[in-house]
């Protein structure tokens, strides 16, 4: 192969490694000190890019020159740093002690809020920033032209690493950051002003995210999709490097940059898959990344279902619910039936996640993977093998169970945040496959023409089919939760050491739970495919996973029936409010944050507590 081509490819790999490191470095420092995985880090990066792309041209009009350009980049990063401070003071400060799941969801709420705010402030169109003065001409490398700005970026990574190293080694603030990364409680008991330390850390982290974003403006235009694409990569870098480790992040960014640069040659369309596979392999060998340490997870982090005596008259309640569900078509029009069908499907989806999170304490952040596998399994069966709905639904279910078995085999040996990140990665891999394997999956357009068999088509029959399958599956899952298997999962969640000491095979149980939950989610996905007549990659996306988590949170993680109520509430609200406003994501984001802060027990949990207090 042409050496000049290889050299240029390696250099561009280095420059993307630099950009990635600068951003991921902020994420890993923030995690080290606060133990919060900040989903909003990608949003800060995006704000940095938008701010710089707007600010720098205006500054350049005042006085044109390299100094102005770099001052503008720095100013943008500082602005983002201040936004980070605001986020810390208003939100993060209140959730340091909350379970991981709540922290992840709250920071994802910020992502949603920022997405709408960015459009409001900067407008919906992409903004291309100016090229850097003095760095417009490309340089020749072995006879090939290479953008000189990329060379500056390559240098920027090690420079930032050096400065951060100096900051952490030579200043009092740095000593405190390192101390807090090792033992937060000890630092607190030594009388360090924690509030100031955490705020300062958030400033540093957000500043680095903003810098990473601002540095991109001569290369790519600022756009609204930047946040989620960079956060996925930054997560991989921090996880592979070991959460909280700056040198680890640097090393991981280098590896991933080169993997992306040369992965293109091997798998032209699937660099994302290569990157996430790297993460899967690294975590399989080193469950805490290159330089990470085992997280000590206190018992307080396990929130979930507790034993309670069975409700009196529950058989009667069940009959009433079935009766209402069966009679609903008599009272509803086609539109309402469609909404009700979707609510039932999402209720089943959320309920399947409850088996993992509420019962097993296994915080899966990629449950959309199995929903999507079920949907695609059914749709592919219809499209490529011409099977009927009756065969396609079990096919989707089986594919999802198989996928869950595979993912589960990898993740059951992980815990806490690494597990959440690994499940997220698994979902992202599948998303990338669905998106990039156009010949089979139809790529972005997905697969259309997935219609139910004639006996089940039409709103009323399909509604009844969905209701029947959902009720039966939920009852089966509930039975499993009450059975020894469900208790064994809870036992492992409450105390892994005790569970092992009484002979429970914790990993094996969790693995089976993954497959059962995956199968149920796959059934929901298949039903969803036939209800809409089509599938597309968004079914596998982060936002589908977050939908399920939001439903759990809204209904209440401590309750068995919470997810069902949560699904109805979220989907109903979305259907009602979305047509009325263009700021749906802002509203949803704020509601998620409000729920974490005010109603951490969810709707059903809050009502139950209120009922219990009254009685």
């Amino acid at each position: 192969m042409d050496p000049a081509f290889l050299a240029v490819q390696a250099l561009s790999g280095l420059s993307s490694a630099s950009s990635l490191f600068i951003t991921a470095c902020g994420l890993t420092i923030v995690f080290g000190v606060t133990r919060i995985v900040n989903f909003a880090h990608g949003s800060l990066y995006m704000i940095g890019a938008y701010t710089a792309a707007t600010l720098v041209p205006q500054l350049l009009e005042l006085s044109f020159g390299p100094v102005t350009f770099w001052a503008g980049i720095l100013a943008s990063a500082i602005i983002v740093g201040l936004i980070g401070v605001i986020i810390e003071v208003l939100l993060l400060r209140r959730i340091y002690g909350a379970p991981e799941l709540f922290q992840l969801l709250a920071t994802f709420g910020i992502v949603l809020v920022v997405q709408d705010l960015v459009v409001q402030v900067f407008g919906p169109q992409d903004i291309l920033g100016p090229r850097a003065p003095g760095l417009r001409a490309p340089v020749e490398i072995l006879g090939r032209r290479f953008p000189s700005y990329e060379l500056v970026l390559i240098a920027a990574g090690p420079i930032v690493l050096g400065l951060v190293w100096l900051l952490l080694r030579k200043t009092r603030f740095g000593v405190l950051v390192r101390a807090a990364t090792q033992d937060r409680d000890m630092v607190a008991s030594l009388g360090v002003n924690q509030a100031l330390l955490f705020t300062g850390t958030l400033f540093l982290g957000a500043f680095l995210a903003g810098l990473g974003g601002a540095l991109q403006i001569p290369r790519v235009s600022a756009n609204t999709g930047m946040d989620l694409s960079i956060i996925a990569e930054a997560f991989v870098v921090t996880v592979v490097g070991g959460m909280g480790s700056v040198p680890g992040a640097f090393l991981a960014a280098l590896v991933i940059g080169q993997l992306q640069a040369f992965g293109i040659l091997i798998f032209p369309k699937s660099t994302l898959v290569v990157v996430f596979l790297l993460m899967a392999v690294v975590l399989a060998i080193r469950p805490h990344g290159f330089f990470g340490r085992a997280e000590i997870i206190g018992g307080s982090h396990a929130v979930g279902i507790a034993s309670r005596s069975p409700l009196p008259g529950r058989g009667f309640i069940l009959l009433v619910v079935i009766g209402i569900l069966a009679a609903f078509p008599l009272a509803a029009d086609a539109y309402l039936l469609k909404v009700a069908t979707e609510i039932l499907i999402f209720a089943l989806f959320a309920f399947s996640l409850q088996l993992l999170i509420g019962v097993g304490g296994v915080v899966s952040f990629g449950h959309a993977a199995f929903f999507g596998l079920g949907a695609y399994g059914a749709a592919l069966g219809v499209k490529w093998y011409g099977v009927s709905m009756e065969a396609a639904l079990p096919l989707g279910l089986a594919l999802a169970a198989l996928g869950a078995g595979l993912v589960g085999a990898f993740v059951v040996r992980l815990s806490g945040i690494y597990l959440a990140m690994m499940t997220l990665a698994a979902a992202q891999i599948l998303y990338a496959v669905a998106f990039q394997w156009v010949e089979v999956t139809g790529g972005d357009n997905g697969i259309v023409g997935v219609w139910p068999s004639s006996w089940a088509s039409g709103p009323i029959p399909y509604y009844l089919l969905t209701a029947a399958l959902t009720v039966v599956t939920v009852l089966l899952l509930k039975r499993i939760i009450e059975a020894p298997f469900g208790y064994a999962l809870r036992a492992a969640r409450d105390s892994e050491a005790r569970a092992e000491a009484i002979g429970l095979k914790v990993r094996q149980h969790r693995w089976l739970a993954f497959m059962i939950a995956g199968a149920a989610a796959g059934l929901a996905g298949g039903l969803y495919a036939f209800s809409r007549g089509s599938v597309d990659p968004s079914l596998l996306g982060i936002s589908t996973s977050v939908d399920a988590l939001t439903m759990l949170l809204l209904g209440g993680i401590q309750t068995v029936m919470g997810p069902l109520v949560g699904a109805a509430a979220l989907h109903g609200l979305r259907d009602w409010i979305m047509p009325l406003t263009s700021l749906w994501r802002l509203l949803l984001g704020l509601s998620i944050i409000a729920m974490v802060l005010i109603f951490p027990r969810g709707l059903v949990g809050t009502v139950r507590d209120w009922w219990g207090a009254r009685a």
Binding site: P484, A488, S495, A497, E500, A501, G503, L504, L512
Partner: protein, 258 residues
């Protein structure tokens, strides 16, 4: 008869020899205490017997069977029950359900997907709870129990597996002095009546000299003395190891050895 044989155990972490040439036996119905200053290797030895650590060298035999490399789960099936320094119970379940869970596992029913767990082995669980004096609290969630009671529930859980050997890591840590003696008297009487061998580590010398039939003293990973409480108390090496804390080895006041 000899229940547990620990033969020539070695374990090092990096350059630190946490245990070397550790050899001892526990007989059925016997209570053996392992003591030593902080960092002496008590927990290391304990975790090698419990299955949380694998030794670099040496053997652990239970009833003559080699369990050196067996997982904690396998040891449970062979008859090892244990309690933890910080009591480990299932806080989301009632006291009875905690014991039921152990009984379910003992009967290999933990993969059961149908009949509710709540109804299984309930009577046996309450019977075990009554043995530790906790039958009144059978339906109380473990999260609502006082710590001393949680420790007793933990003992009932450990007994549910019908252990031949009971491992207790600092069984009385975090308890009030009066509760400590009660718990250890209870343990001693159960151990004696059922022929269970008990291996425990302890910092409270009242508990050690009041309840152990034999005492093993560890220092820097090695056994420096072993014998009856009186022999150990008179040992010069032991006195030196506890220098500056000599009154720790005095005969407990107002207590007769069990």
């Amino acid at each position: 008869m000899t229940l547990l044989t620990v033969d020539d155990l070695h374990k090092s972490f990096g350059g630190v020899m946490a245990a070397r040439d550790v050899t001892f036996t526990v007989a059925s119905g016997e209570m053996l205490a392992v003591i030593g200053p902080n960092g002496a290797g008590k927990s290391t030895v304990f975790n090698m017997v419990g299955g949380q650590l694998t030794p670099d060298r040496g053997k652990v035999l239970l009833d003559g069977q080699d369990i050196t490399r067996a997982s904690p789960q396998k040891r449970f099936r062979r008859g090892v029950g244990r309690t933890f320094q910080v009591a480990q119970t299932f806080l989301s379940m009632s006291a009875a359900e905690n014991v039921q869970m152990a009984l379910i596992s003992c009967n290999r029913q933990s993969n059961g997907l149908w009949a509710p767990a709540r109804d299984r082995h309930r009577d046996k669980a309450v019977e075990l709870l009554s043995r530790v004096g906790m039958e009144e609290a059978a339906d109380t969630p473990c999260s609502a129990l006082a710590y001393g009671d949680v420790k007793r529930v933990e003992l009932a859980i450990a007994l549910a597996g019908q252990p031949k050997l009971l491992l207790m890591d600092e069984p009385t840590a975090g308890m009030a002095p009066r509760e400590r003696a009660t718990l250890m008297d209870l343990t001693a009487s159960i151990a004696e009546s059922q022929g269970i061998g008990v291996l425990f580590t302890e910092h409270d010398m009242d508990v050690v000299f009041g309840h152990a039939a034999r005492v093993l003293v560890l220092l820097r990973g090695q056994i420096i003395a072993s014998g009856t409480p009186d022999e150990v108390r008179r040992d010069e090496q032991v006195k030196r190891a506890y220098l500056g804390d000599e009154h720790a080895l005095e005969r407990p006041k107002g207590m007769t050895p069990a």
